[in-house]
């Protein structure tokens, strides 16, 4: 029964390489750039491009752990509320005398705690789906923000706080650098570590993963906790950009974040998708929004477009699979 197996790089075909979803995203980004440069002669200016990213990267931080969550065939719609709550607590503390640095740390801690609670509830009460848990925490977390701040704004942060959302390092926006750093970190986590491998196992077959010794509960809690943490990171950047905060900030962020993840090729059924796809989708949707802004598309029209985008991002891979399977017969 001696048989040698091949253990070297699998077959590489040029066609196979380029038929990947992520190349489609690159193509679309290219198309968006073409469209935008037609709408505005200043678009392709480097400085302008970099500045444009500052407008949409604040929510991009949440996209990174959301990839994990959707890979697990779960979902987290409470992230926007976590942004609001951590931002509000930070502002509230600062305005009551707590030093800003500490307030920022607490902001991160609050976000982490909120995410952790999500994870615990989902894991301890398996009867409850992630949908219903994060639906209720979505309301609860923002509800707490409303209790704290009512309908007031809170701000007047120290001037250096501006740097997060508005500052530059060597000509490059700080927020972009921060995002790239985090993106690389999450990419490594997903594609180069045990943790990532186990996530993929869980997403494809949670039972087999469990029977193979993967600590499914622990990993799930970690994924949701990370979502909470990165929501708090978003809170820092968003609050910095706005200069103040209210309980209703980041409304609708969960929709865009999920759209970015799904458009990036991560399937809601779990187990499929890559970090690079989600990152590309961030820029695709971000620049698309920017372009729409150039033609003064109303905020409401934008809502419609985002909604349609989300649905199309999920529908296309599903229909593609269905029709190619039908053709194979």
């Amino acid at each position: 029964m001696e048989q040698r197996l091949i253990a070297n790089k699998k077959d590489f075909t040029l066609k196979g390489f380029f038929l990947q979803w992520e190349w489609l995203l690159v193509l679309l980004i290219f198309a968006v750039f073409v469209m935008n440069s037609n709408l505005s002669p200043y678009f392709l200016d480097t400085a302008n491009l970099l500045d444009a990213t500052m407008g949409f990267l604040d929510k991009a931080f949440i996209v990174l752990p959301m990839v994990f969550i959707i890979l697990l065939a779960d979902i987290d719609i409470s992230v926007a509320s976590i942004v609001a709550l951590s931002s509000v607590i930070m502002a509230d503390l600062y305005n009551h005398g707590v030093p800003m640095e500490l307030a920022m740390v607490i902001c991160l801690a609050v976000g982490t705690l909120c995410g952790w609670i999500n994870g615990l509830l989902i894991v301890k009460y398996k009867e409850l789906s992630a949908v219903i848990v994060t639906l209720s925490t979505m309301i609860i977390y923002r509800g707490i923000a409303y209790i704290l701040l009512e309908d007031q704004a809170s701000g007047k942060f120290p001037s250096w706080f501006n740097f997060l959302g508005w500052g530059y390092v060597g000509g490059i926006p700080f927020i972009l650098i921060a995002f790239v750093v985090f993106a690389i970190a999450f990419w490594i986590l997903l594609h180069k570590t045990n943790f990532g491998r186990m996530l993929y196992a869980m997403g494809n077959n949670p039972t087999a993963a469990r029977y193979s010794g993967v600590q499914v509960n622990r990993l799930k809690v970690i994924a949701f906790t990370l979502a909470g943490l990165m929501s708090a990171v978003t809170a820092l950047f968003l609050t910095s950009r706005m200069g103040s905060t209210r309980p209703n900030i980041a409304t609708g962020y969960e929709l865009e974040v999920i759209a970015m993840v799904v458009l990036g090729g991560v399937s809601t059924a779990g187990g499929k998708g890559r970090m690079i796809g989600a990152v590309l989708a961030v820029f695709l949707i971000g620049f698309l929004r920017y372009g729409l802004g150039l033609v003064n598309v109303s905020a409401q029209m934008l809502l419609i477009i985002m909604g349609v985008l989300l649905i199309v991002s999920v529908a296309v891979p599903e229909l593609k699979q269905r029709f190619s399977f039908a053709r194979k017969r």
Binding site: I140, I304, G307, E318
Partner: protein, 345 residues
Amino acid sequence: MNHTGTDAAALQRTQGKKASLSSYIAKFRELGLLAFIVILAVGVQLRNPSFLTWENLNDIATNTAILAILSVGMMLVIITRGIDLSIGATLALSGMTAALTVSHNPGLHPLAAILVGVGIGLLCGIVVGFLVSWVNILPIIATLGMMNVFRGLTFETSGGKWVSAHQMPESFKGIATGAFLGINNLIWIAAVIYIVAYYFVSHTRTGRRVYAIGSNPESAKISGIRSGRILWLVYTIMGGLSGLAGVLWVSKFASAQGDTAAGYEMNVIAACVLGGVSIAGGVGKISGVLLGAILLGILNNALPMINVSPFWQNFIQGAIILVAVLVNAMVKRGIDRNNLMRRKI
């Protein structure tokens, strides 16, 4: 089920106790809700004697009527293991369209306005149903997306402007303020809907098949039940009811805005889970949902009466949903444990 190291006898005792509490809740949920409603009403009245006035009770009833109408639709959706976050937006879109229609055609019969609203609602529901049943998109994502689309459309059709009371003909406003035999129209409408719903859910094949789909979707497909069609139907009904609710809402509050009923879907979901509808699907009673809606309606009215700040409302609502689903889960665990113990192994 975490039993660590307790001795056998004590284990039997605690298991027995837990089992009976859970089955108690299951059997007597409706009674419990009723009791809670009574206690709540009495409690609030003690704190604020203007609670149990005829005017206030009428206010509660009309608000609850709308909530109840929506809840019965959501119940069907949740029974099929789905969820619909777009109903607030559908409500707004239908209400706005109806309001715009009557403001431009003041001679229009109010019934026509209702038909317009319901029609828009049905269209919205058909779209959502299509996405969920045919394209196979997860309900949470489909309704999250369409929620935005419908809301955006609401703003677009109104051009960002409100339709206010003086733009609405009396006949239109009269839909919600009018009464028949001394009882407000809305209550009549809700009553009719509940009777129809009860019949649908208990005495028609399609109604029972909705439960079957939620109880065991794979089995349903194999036994020849057209689960795709029924799923589509369920979301369409939800849309239609949202459309109806839209007209009633806009008539009652005599105003149609872009952000009408924003977030209202949470109220509806809360009413359903309070009423014992299981998020896991296959379980839900009309009587439970009705009581859940009434309880929530009273609560929403009562909180400002006892000086609870409106800014606490969100938190309380979210907490209610979470606690209710946790309790439902615990009850189910108790029942399952009971079934296991019955096996006499």
